[in-house]
Symmetry: C2
Subunit: 327 residues, 2 copies
């Protein structure tokens, strides 16, 4: 029996989540029984997809659903050994016991930091890779627009499109992120949608239209993109963050889909399991050669997970938001 | 030289078109020169797709773009003979000369009325057929929702889905059309969206969700359908009539596309040219066996074409709106 901590959802948020919607719960975890492991959390991932779940799928008074990287500290399991690293979907718990189901042993590349396995080489990365190349059916050299291009998924999607020789326009909401996208990542055009009128800026930045709009935002972003789409354009829908907290405007320009034969399609990362080995090979190479750049926002301490989630919707992250618990 | 009449657009409508946006122009048509035919109009087609064109693509002070059936009355053309029937896209003109380009010789089935070649066996029919079976990738026995199921395209789409063994729910805006869909066509459920709350009625009528939503309306209809869509549902977008006159609400439920992996895709009838022979064979059989039923609204007289177009947006048609000029 070991002391353990959990973050619970104790109240369903109205609009933007607030700290009082969550509680830190002190509890205990049993020792690993035969066939089990005990795992301590190293890193937790905080993601936009968590917001809609808070309205329904996430049970109240139970650990927040989510994923992270942990280390086996006690093993009576046939294949997982003490000290093994695992990726898991066990939620916001700093220590837990598992029979191994849902744990994936992780053998990180020694030349890459462990955190990249929570973003560029994790669910974030394969979401961008599959969404752009499979759902979006991107072809080399096309015209691409990525919303929230300064975010975790958006920044990877924008850079994959650059690697594929595309003309890439990104939108973001802060001058810091805009400068990073412009000066470090090297996008062809960057729009700070809080500082300039989005529709006009997008029209000016896409003189040859848009073949693929990698959609993370919805609302006004989608309305700005639709009239710029080219014939047979594609809109892979990764997220619609503007609508998750009950806000945002209704979308009025969908009629553009008809004559332009636009295809718009939702996806989630588990759809791309069949792409995993190609993705890992490509992305490891791109990261080691510096062709994919990234930013991370690491909050220090398990108890700060709710702050991380709330911060995500307030745009307080640069790149992937992570909670660091221990090395 | 023969007297001829044309309907011109003389002013771009603000919102719903009004009679003053159009003018009847008396003119003349030359005799057919070598290689040409002179054609007299028999039937004109009036269609929802015309509305967005009035804002831009339709030239001012020129004949309204559109299609119809005519008869060759003078021929110096190598293959078209006097008395031949042709389908054409020559617009709202009661007589015209052509070199034959864009005219398709029509050999109607003697057991079917000529008017069906302007709807169930024309562009209307192949729009429904291709949109449902190809863009919508309909599978036998699926759950289907069709908006404006009392309209020209909608009523054909709904009946093809019934022929394919599907559970079919239709929406319409008048009690007359609802009764026809319920009692004559035999849909599984019919919603009069002007008489009952759409979202609640649709939820009640689709206990097994929706696999294919054949979209003709947009706005509140799309918002009602999205939460009812099943995993990997498809939304072939044929029209968004609620938005054509600048009205309608913005769409707020698009985030449903993500987790349900919904695919939404626009199309127009020329996309389905490769389906034409299968379509003609299927549809001729379905019409002759009475499996596809239809309604027509025939306005008598060339000069009533603008009234027909305006009436379409006011829901004054039952089924396909046509202008009958002569037998």
């Amino acid at each position: 029996m070991t002391e353990a901590r959990e973050i619970h959802l104790v109240r369903r948020p109205k609009g933007l989540p607030v700290p009082e919607d969550f509680a830190l719960v002190e509890t205990t975890t049993p020792d690993a029984a035969e066939g089990e492991v005990q795992v301590e959390a190293l890193i937790l991932s905080v993601d936009p997809y968590m917001r809609p779940r808070l309205d329904a799928d996430q049970p109240l008074d139970a650990p927040m659903l989510g994923g992270g990287i942990g280390r086996v500290v006690q093993s009576r399991h046939p294949t997982l050994k003490d000290g093994d690293l695992v990726r898991h979907g066990m939620g916001f718990r700093d220590r837990f016991v598992s029979d191994g189901k849902g744990l994936a042993k992780l053998t990180p590349d020694p030349d890459l930091p462990l955190t990249v396995y929570m973003h560029a080489l994790g669910g974030t990365g394969i979401t961008a890779y599959g969404g752009l190349l499979e759902t979006g059916a991107l072809k080399d050299g096309e015209q691409v627009f990525v919303s929230t291009a300064g975010g975790a998924v958006g920044s990877v999607a924008a850079q994959i499109a650059k690697i594929k020789g595309c003309h890439v326009v990104g939108s973001t909401g802060t001058e810091d992120k805009a400068a990073w996208l412009r000066d470090v990542v090297g996008l062809d055009a960057v729009i700070n949608y809080k500082a300039e009128p989005l529709a006009e800026a997008l029209a000016a930045a896409t003189p040859n239209g848009i073949d693929v709009y990698f959609e993370n935002v919805g609302g006004a972003h989608l309305d700005a993109a639709l009239p710029r789409m080219n014939l047979h354009g594609r809109i892979p829908v990764c997220g619609m963050i503007s609508t998750y907290n009950g806000g945002g405007e209704g979308v009025r320009n969908l009629f553009n889909m008809i004559y332009k034969r636009i295809r718009m399609e939702g996806f989630v990362s588990p759809d791309f399991a069949h792409l995993n080995s190609a993705f890992v090979a490509d992305m490891t190479g791109w990261l080691k050669s510096g062709r994919i750049k990234y930013q991370e926002t690491l909050l220090e301490g398990f108890e700060r997970a709710p702050e991380g989630l709330i911060g995500l919707f307030e745009g307080r992250n640069s790149g992937k938001m992570l909670i660091h618990i221990r090395d």
